[in-house]
């Protein structure tokens, strides 16, 4: 299963590479690369965030081993996305890039989404998980902010807010809502359940 999932996760990248090398991209290939890598970064972020709900709802506990890997694929595509922007839009001009980040809200959101992923990718190893202990969990809650910023980045990017950007924001909303509902579900907390029972 593992190699199959890896190949599937890399398929969008390989397909993009194939189209680029064989001249099958549009008249604006940089735009194609930016869009493809950006959309897949967001999709993998959403897949990552879907794993916990999937596990809770199905009881399929083994799925949890994929959460970190899916997160790393999100980071892989986000890095390609960011590098495309840095190289082909900003031509390695870091001061110009930072000015752009400060000036345009949709770039600010995208940059924020990417920067938040960096510490998560760095601390994704077993060693860091051990070292950070309980704080690892806390740190990795940053992924919610990253995903939120990524959705905002996509929505602010488009001229007409319909289709994909809206669907992704809705999916993220549902995935976050699940967590809230799960926490406050009836009988979630035995102590609270008892308290409620005695009150009534």
């Amino acid at each position: 299963m593992k190699p199959t999932v890896f190949i599937l996760a890399l398929a969008p990248f390989l397909w993009l590479l194939y189209r680029a090398l064989t001249g099958r991209l549009s008249a604006n290939p940089v735009e194609d690369i930016t869009l493809t890598t950006g959309v897949w970064a967001l999709r993998f972020l959403l897949i990552t965030l879907a794993i916990t709900p999937l596990r809770r709802l199905t009881g399929w506990n083994a799925v949890i081993q994929w959460r970190r890997r899916m997160g790393l694929f999100a980071f892989f595509y986000a890095t390609l996305h960011f590098l495309t922007y840095l190289v082909f839009d900003q031509v390695f001009d870091v001061p110009h890039m930072l000015a752009d980040v400060a000036k345009r809200p949709f770039i600010t959101a995208g940059f924020f989404a990417f920067v938040l992923m960096v510490p998560l990718a760095v601390t994704s190893t077993k060693g860091w998980i051990r070292r950070l202990g309980r704080r690892w969990q806390l740190l990795h809650r940053l992924v919610y902010f990253s995903a939120g910023a990524a959705c905002l980045h996509f929505i602010w990017k488009v001229k007409v807010v319909i289709g994909e950007p809206v669907y992704y924001a809705a999916i993220l909303g549902a995935l976050l809502a699940f967590r809230v509902l799960w926490r406050f579900r009836p009988n979630a907390n035995p102590r609270r359940a008892t308290a409620r029972a005695s009150a009534s």
Binding site: S26, A27, N28, P29, V30, E31, F88, D89, V91, D100, K103, R104, P105, F106, W156, K157, K159, V160, I162, G163
Partner: protein, 317 residues
């Protein structure tokens, strides 16, 4: 510096509007057979599929405003913003073929002495087709160089004899959801509308294009006739026009209705004004990988800047 002339271009083509128009008048009186021939292919070319492009004959003069490399026919006809056919860049090339562009009627009305509805070929027939090599700058920060074929908008407007009250021109695109699938989505308030101030409309650089690369327009490029205003962002150059109306107030435009904070009426190319989320200081010329600097008025400032003297371009974007 900005308008470069190839050796076969007369100066009258570019600068002196008076001479320029008189020359065409002369040509009309002379009744050159080539002129009538020029309009012929417009009829033949607008086939149901819109995919077979007829050669345009009788193209008389050439105005070259840039010596930069032309974008390929392939690029120009495969990468388009024409939301009537979908919001993807390849949607127009994919879906525009079903649009029937013949017969095509254009109504010219409003504040003018001779309002009329023309068949496309009758609208074009009296005038000489000209080739115009223009830069096109999209608000999305990409650009192309396109060899248009068309006639000055001023010629068409003058035939309608605008009254002194006419201060703006309003343009409307065809509304036909059965052949324009994008119009079934509430992307914009259809039909697409655009507008120009009277002096902008009468400016010699402003043309109505009926072709490119010497052939009739393909549907994805706005067949059978579209506006080309090279110093404004591409969305001002409205496609597949069915109505030109002379009015006395600033017309509403599709994009400024959709998002007034982003799109103003003027929408002159301006590297220093960024109401839209794109960074307008730079652009990517299709066919190249790295961005280049965007020029004020898309490099046509020598010709058009005087029209905006005293206008706060930051306020009136």
């Amino acid at each position: 510096m900005l308008i470069r002339r190839s050796p076969d271009v007369r100066s009258s083509d570019i600068t002196d509007e008076r001479l320029y128009l008189r020359r065409r008048e002369f040509m009309r009186l002379a009744g050159s057979a080539a002129l009538a021939a020029a309009a012929g292919p417009l009829v033949a070319g607008g086939g149901a599929e819109g995919m077979t492009q007829a050669e345009l004959s009788g193209i008389k003069s050439k105005v070259v405003t840039t010596d930069e490399k032309w974008n390929s026919f392939e690029d120009i006809t495969s990468y388009n913003n024409f939301y009537e056919f979908g919001i993807g860049k390849d949607d127009p090339a994919r879906y525009a073929g079903r649009l029937k562009t013949s017969p095509w009627k254009v109504k010219i009305d409003g504040l003018c002495a001779k309002p009329a509805e023309y068949l496309l070929e009758d609208l074009i027939k009296p005038f000489e087709l000209e080739e115009r090599i223009y830069r096109l700058r999209c608000v999305e920060a990409w650009s192309m160089v396109i060899p248009w074929v068309g006639i000055p908008l001023s010629s068409i407007l003058k035939r309608a004899e605008p009254t002194a009250k006419a201060t703006f021109v309003e343009f409307t695109t065809l509304l036909r959801p059965s052949e324009m699938p994008g119009q079934n989505e509430a992307v914009l308030d259809w039909p697409y509308r655009e507008g120009l101030r009277m002096d902008e409309a009468m400016h010699p650089l402003t043309i109505v294009a009926v072709g490119l690369y010497g052939k009739t327009l393909m549907n994805q490029n706005g067949a059978p006739l579209r506006l080309v205003v090279p110093w404004k962002y591409g969305f001002k150059s409205i496609k597949s026009i069915v109505r030109i109306r002379l009015v006395d107030r600033m017309p509403q435009t599709a994009w400024s209705v959709a998002n007034p904070g982003w799109y103003g009426f003027y929408s002159n190319v301006n590297p220093d004004v960024n109401p839209v989320r794109w960074d307008q200081s730079r652009e990517r010329r299709l066919g190249t990988l790295f961005p280049r600097k965007t020029q004020l008025f898309n490099g046509y400032g020598d010709q058009v800047a005087s029209m905006y003297a005293g206008l706060d371009l930051k306020k009136y974007y």
